[in-house]
Each structure stands twice: as C-alpha cells, then as structure tokens.
Symmetry: C2
C-alpha cells in the first residue's frame, strides 16, 4: 500500500507522517495537498482563542468529549507560535494530550514552528485540510496567545470561539477589539469569579454594534469549564452557528470566503518562497548587503530593480 | 521651498507629512525613502517592549527626559497593532503625548494601522529611517502588546529593552522565551512588588545560556519607573550597549545585519504589493474563487501555475 492509500484507509500513523511532511514543506507538498483537496470541505473547523490562562485547553477538552459522545471523529491542532523556546504552557499541553490521545477517535497535533507569522497560520490551514480529507468531522484549533497569528488562524476556521476570563483585565483591554472582530461566540470562563458579570456586559455592549451591522446573533456564554458548566450551551451555540453557515445563501458565501482566504495565503506564501529561493537567495542577499554597506544604492531602489527584472 | 527642503530644514510639520506619506504608501514613497537613505544610520533606535501594564510608557517618558537633558533630539514611535479598535491604553497614550509634544526636542508618532503584520513592522522601520534622516539622535520605539509584530519591530531596532513586571505571571510565562531571544536589556519594573526578586532570578537563569553563547552581558535592571528608580541605570546600560555596537568588528557586523533586515523586508513587501496589484488583483481573485468553488482546480495548482507564468 502506498503512503496515500494508507492515509485514505484511515491509518493514523500515515496521517501523522503526512502532517509532518506538510509542516516541513517538502517538494511533494503541493502535489499532495492538490490531490487531497477534492476530499475536503466536509469537516467543521472551530478556532478556540483567548489570552493565556483563560482555560482554552479545558474548553477544548470538554468540547472534544461532547463531540466524541456524539460519535464524531475529532482532530485537535494546538498552535503555539512561541513554543520553540518552551514555556510552561506547553508541558501541560503535552500531558493533557497523552490523556486524550488514548481515545481512538481523537488525533492531536501540536504545532510549534516559530517561522514567519503568515507561515504558521498558513500551515495550520493546510493541516486542517489534511485532517478534513482524512475524515475528521470536527477540527478544534486551539491557539495559545493573543497576537496576529491567532487572528490569522481564526480567519482560517469556520467558527471562532473567543474565551475571556474576568481577571484578564489590562491585556484584554488591549486586544478586546481585535477579538471582537473575529469572534462568532464569546465564552466568559471562570464565570464564578468576581467581575464576570461586568466583563460579560462590556462584551455585550461592544457586540451590539456588530449584531446590528451583521444582523445576526453573537452569543456570550457564561462558563466554568473545569466544572463542565456552560459547555453544553457552548456546544448548542456552535451547532446553531454551523447550521446558519449551511443555510440559504450562507453556504456559498462562506465557502467562497474560505476559498478566497486559501488562494490568497497560498499564492502569497509560494511566491515568497520562490522569492527567497531565487531572487533573494543567500548569496545574492549577501552581495546586496555588501553593496549597500559600501554606500552603493539602497533597499528601495533595489526592490524596484528586482521587480522590473521580473517582467 | 519644496517639501523635502522644508523637511531638511528641520520643519516638524514637513516631518509629520512625510511620515503620513510613508504610512499611506504613495507612489512617491520609495523614491523619497531612497533619497533620504544616505542621511540615515546616525540615530540610535531603541525598542521598548513588554506585556500590557508593564509600564512601557512611563519608562519611555523617563528615558526621553534624560536624553533631552543631554541635549539629544528624540523621536518616539508608539506602535499599536490592535488600535483601530481603540483600547483603553491608547487614550492614555494620547494624553501623555500631548504633554511630551509641548517639548520642542521631541517628535511623537502613534502608529496604529492594523494591516498585514509584516506591513506594520516594515512601516515602523521606514518611519525610523525618516526620523533618522530628519536628524533625531534617539528614536524610542514603544510597542504595545506581546505578539509577532513586537518581535519584528524589535529586530528593526539597534537595541531592544524588554520590560516585565512581577505580576505578569501567566502571560510572561507564555512569551518569556520569545522575549529572551530579542532582548539586549531586561527591566523588572514595579520592583517594589512581591515576586520581583523571583522573576529577576528566573530571567537571569534563562539568560545565562545566552550570555555564554554570545559572550556578552545581558543586564537585568530593577526599576520603579514612576519613582524614577532604576532609569539612570537603564540609561547607563543602553549607553554601554550602544558603545559595544560601535566598537571593533561590531560596527560593521551590526550595520550589515540592519541592512540585511531592510533589504529582506522591503523587497518582500514590494513583491507582495506587486503580486496583489497584478497577479492576484481583485477581479482575478474573484475568478479563481468561482472556478475552485465550481470544483475546478485548487489553490496549490493555481499557485504553481501563476509562478510558472511569471518566468
């Protein structure tokens, strides 16, 4: 059996290898992704994002359990843009993952390449495609952190859940609006703590504008994920949103939005790689640096000349 | 007098306009940047980064005052990647800026475009160049947040100062290592609070590896910026680092590193713009989306074809 045949037959080892291949971006990657592409579009991808300490992992675990209870096949991608430097968060993740990985229905992958920002978000969408083609029904994408990578990853998922906690305070303040833009559903986790009603009403206030503009619901779910409080409601809200995306004009609109994102990011990324391989190869870049250091030219004229050469 | 002549004569209004032009990326931007380029390379750019609430603004203000006392001309760039959505932090910044702006020696600019990540970091380096060509001696670049943009901006500065506070806890844990990589100098601010010695010793432990590898100092300064405690020491550490960058082989090495960064980022960015203007113009992208939605092709074959067309 060829590698792809083993993949199609549902072999998790073949799945893991294919993901590694996509992450490492071998010469065959694009050909393989092109081959898998017709098998994609069936899974529901759900981005789970929020500041560190907001309980994302717990929410992901609980949701996963509920989906397994429904007989769904679940894939989990944990995206951690800073992790090559290993933080405490990751160790916890690994321990948790071993627990979950014992369950046959779940495939878990931690993505921890700190490359270019766009690169990590793009690879995540490619891994989503691989899990989708493999036959996963639900793909939970957990992003650790609150930066641009998370916003990019959110764009690549069908539905985005943003988790906040009462005590996040300052850091939430700084990013609330960015999260406001990407969230389909908010969760106020650790809702038994002081300040939970206040943050919920703040979020609701900010959402009112968006609700009016988009003419749809953006729910705020109060939860205590560790005690399984609010998770059923969250699941129900995700169900409704998934239904909405499938109904009427929404299906075509949403699919086209996702395709547009894929095209844009893929073409950009492959062009950038080509640029770095050929036009700005290491040797050429070294030459340019020497020249400009010696007072000949500048980066702006250089860019113009290189683009003109291309035509 | 032409616009550039007014700029060269030291007119802050001409400076502000030129920065706006660079931010908006007009057709003349590259020509102007190319013209200014020979006048750059004199200023010292200092990136100040750290989590929200760590007191970056206060440190920047105090450093600014010390540099003004030395008769230096200071430029401040406040980079806030999330701000089109307005957070609380920005309002405070604006109030502060009015105070500082009363002082003739200081020019302050808040950059708040949420475009592509790379875009914002790149524009920041271009604004640094403009301030440098204008004759600023010191350029303080304050980044609000802790994501990829901040790491990119740090790379674009001569010296990077990372500010942490004892209570940042979780979020620091998640990003400490990323900051570890970019920091030349650490500040533990609010050092009177509980946990300050612990975080300082944690940082020192993590730095020991880097110190050994790079064979140089990476100082950790204990500070209470609001009370002006530790700011003199910080300034001294910045002075030493600036001296080190100028001495021996370091000067050439550092300049070339900065030039390399400029070339890479500029060429990448201009190529990307060209790509979006021509190869993936709105109309073309719409066509591609329709085709793939209709089941014809996929993003990966499309990217390959577009790159082949280019040759």
């Amino acid at each position: 059996m060829s590698h792809l045949e083993r993949f199609y037959s549902g072999d998790p080892v073949a799945l893991a290898r294919l993901i590694t291949h996509v992450e490492n971006r071998g010469p065959e990657t694009d050909r393989i992704l092109a081959q898998l592409y017709p098998r994609t579009g069936k899974a529901l991808s759900i981005g789970i994002t929020g500041p560190p300490g907001s309980g994302k992992s717990t929410v992901v675990d609980k949701l996963c359990a509920l989906y397994l209870g429904r007989g769904k096949k679940v894939g989990i991608i944990a995206v951690d843009p800073t992790s090559p430097f290993t933080g405490g968060a990751l160790l916890g993740d690994r321990i948790r993952m071993q627990d979950l990985a014992l369950n046959d229905g779940v495939f878990i992958r931690s993505m921890a390449t700190r490359g270019s920002t766009g690169g990590l978000a793009l690879t995540t969408t490619e891994v989503i495609k691989v899990l989708d083609a493999f036959g996963k029904d639900i793909i939970l994408v957990e992003t650790v952190g609150v930066g641009q990578v998370e916003l990019d990853v959110a764009e690549a998922c069908d539905i985005t859940v943003v988790i906040l906690v009462p005590e996040s305070g300052d850091s939430i303040q700084a990013m609330k609006a960015g999260l406001m833009e990407i969230a389909d559903i908010f969760v106020v986790n650790k809702a038994d703590r002081e300040g939970a009603p206040r943050i919920a009403s703040e979020i609701n206030m900010m959402l009112d504008l968006k609700r009016e503009k988009c003419r749809r619901e953006f729910p705020v779910v109060m939860a205590q994920a560790v005690n399984n409080v609010g998770i059923d409601e969250l699941l129900g809200r995700i169900d409704s949103e998934a239904e909405r995306l499938k109904s009427g004009d929404n299906f075509e609109k949403h699919r086209k939005k996702m395709i547009r994102y894929d095209i844009l990011k893929t073409v950009e990324h492959r062009f950038r790689n080509r640029l770095l391989d050929e036009i700005l190869s290491r040797e050429k870049l070294d030459d340019f640096v020497e020249k400009i250091f010696a007072g000949q030219g500048n980066p702006y004229d250089l860019a113009r000349e290189l683009i003109n050469d291309l035509k």
